[in-house]
Point group: C2
Chain length 345, copies 2
């Protein structure tokens, strides 16, 4: 069980209790979702050696129980005071409290500290990251499935490309297919044609698809697990030079993936990319990839899932990006399998 | 201009410079969006009496310039250090720095304090809330339009209701119509039928619509401005008792709206609701409403837009909620105009 792994880590760090919270009904706490499946307002309490429990406002009790088996109710008006009472009632004793410093805001932190005056507070954001970047078998199953769904949607999209008129048409097709597959989106799809493709995080507009490279960046969320894939198609007839630059980037992307090894530092992979891009490296304006589910900043380890997505962006001219979601588990395997050969539509 | 109003407030509070930030590419800072129209990673700097500027990583420069006219580039690896340099270069002098304590996390706050050691840091979260809860004419125009789009989609949905088989069908229809109207969503639509309706924040499932009350909570985002409307329809043939309870709640909702007055405290409106619900008040498990665009906790003032949404939820039995978005501007006006008479589908 995921919470069990975290409790092990709490004990190793001499932390008696961890507290995760989400106070925004329009947002959710990723770590709370990871442990409980619950997305709403609430506080998740993980004692180092007792069953964890989820504490929510009255209106969410019934919904929370559908996701997690131990649910209590707090009084929203005196949140941390009622959390303290619940802990007392459940006989949870603690001197050291672990808090995720990367998700709590200053106002909430101050209110918490005021109520837990005698408690030593420690940051557990790094511990949560480390825990979450190593996937268990069920997570890997969900990630594979997520990538395969994204793949089949992207393939269908490329096949149907002729019928799209605007960037939004393409984005809408991708969203619609995700819905049909009962999936959410990893993020709003990016469809950037013509010179818009030089903006890596461009938002698709209601404008006609322009000739040239068109970057399509898409991913679905299957049981909470994200996929992430980018393919750059060519609208119209590419020149020799355009084919060359596409294949140049593709070769680099394949090389980078092939050379991923255990304990290799992420920085090193990035530097290899910059070196291989050579004169084009000044047009590579973002990071090489990111963890899927959680950021990976350090070294590559077994059972990590992340993206490799080099790109070339020339402002007001064009953009190309090729991205795969990959799993490293003794060796590297590419989870997104849509062709990377240049697709001309 | 919105930033101008905030600068006035900075001067009144003897704050030389405000800094808003978003470091999460999958999230955005609502206040930064409010001032700049920009959603990506970045830092927004508002000197008390100089033109504000947006500072973003290299990959976002081109995109940010489409939203805001003064854009600089920061070095992501040494974020606050490069922010300091940019401020120096732009000759912004400051001793007091305003930060939104409700949106910055502890890790970012500590990194910032380390770099701005000699600067006095003050919370501006309340000032931002106060600023944003009073709408200007353009904002009101957008809010009205947003509500009227939501209205026409809800009406169309009620008319088409016979063709829906599952809760997800209804939700998908609402989402699809929002897309067609070139709008985003205020939140994922809630469609809760049968006993699911007793969960105020229920997520629609791929299950057949059940007989009884069905809560439909929906809103679109038009130019960033949200609408929010809930209608509870009845699937099948309601009993006399069911009609009674629906009309009981509707009467209360209408009464509450009618009695909104300037300077009336939000608490007082809530207490009136509880009093009128009488024996049913124990089944009213959430707040009475919320600001649209920004929370309103205190008193009703002119040019505020908020919701009034009483509900009755009996666990494992049924749920009813009736919600309007209303504007107070000397007098109250209801912006969501879809009928509130019981619709039987």
């Amino acid at each position: 069980m995921k919470a069990g792994r975290f409790q092990y880590c709490l004990r190793a760090n001499r932390i008696d209790l961890a507290l995760l919270l989400n106070l925004d009904s329009l947002d959710y706490n990723h770590n709370m979702l990871y442990f409980t499946g619950y997305k709403g307002i609430g506080v998740f309490l993980i004692p180092k050696n007792k069953k964890p429990f989820l504490v929510v406002p009255e209106m969410e009790v019934e919904r929370a129980k559908k996701s997690f088996n131990k649910v209590c109710q707090f009084d929203k008006k005196r949140l941390f005071e009622s959390i303290k009472q619940i802990l007392r009632k459940n006989k949870v004793k603690f001197r050291t409290l672990g808090i995720d410093y990367s998700s709590i805001n200053i106002n909430a932190f101050r209110a918490l500290k005021k109520e837990f005056k005698k408690t030593k507070i420690k940051d557990v954001s790094k511990e949560l990251l480390n825990l979450r970047k190593i996937k268990d078998e069920e997570e890997l199953k969900n990630l594979r499935k997520s990538c395969s769904i994204a793949d089949s949607i992207v393939r269908k999209c490329l096949k149907s490309f002729k019928k799209f008129r605007t960037e939004k048409d393409v984005a809408f097709f991708l969203e619609y297919e995700a819905k049909k597959a009962s999936c959410g989106l990893s993020f709003p799809p990016i469809v950037a044609s013509g010179k818009n493709a030089s903006m890596p995080h461009y938002e698709p507009q209601n404008i006609e698809l322009k000739k040239g490279f068109c970057v399509i960046d898409f991913g679905v969320k299957y049981r909470g697990y994200c996929s992430d894939i980018t393919r750059t198609v060519y609208i119209g007839k590419p020149s020799e030079k355009e084919k060359q630059i596409y294949n140049f980037l593709l070769k680099i992307q394949n090389n980078l993936i092939k050379n991923i090894k255990i304990n290799k530092k992420c920085d090193k992979i990035y530097n290899e990319c910059v070196k291989q891009l050579n004169n084009y490296s000044k047009y590579f304006t973002h990071g090489l990839g990111h963890g899927v589910g959680v950021e990976i900043h350090d070294k590559i380890g077994n059972k990590m899932v992340f993206t490799i997505e080099p790109g070339i962006y020339v402002a007001n001219k064009f953009g190309i990006r090729i991205e795969d979601t990959v799993l490293f588990d003794k060796k590297v395997s590419i989870l997104t399998k849509t062709t990377k050969e240049m697709v001309i539509v």
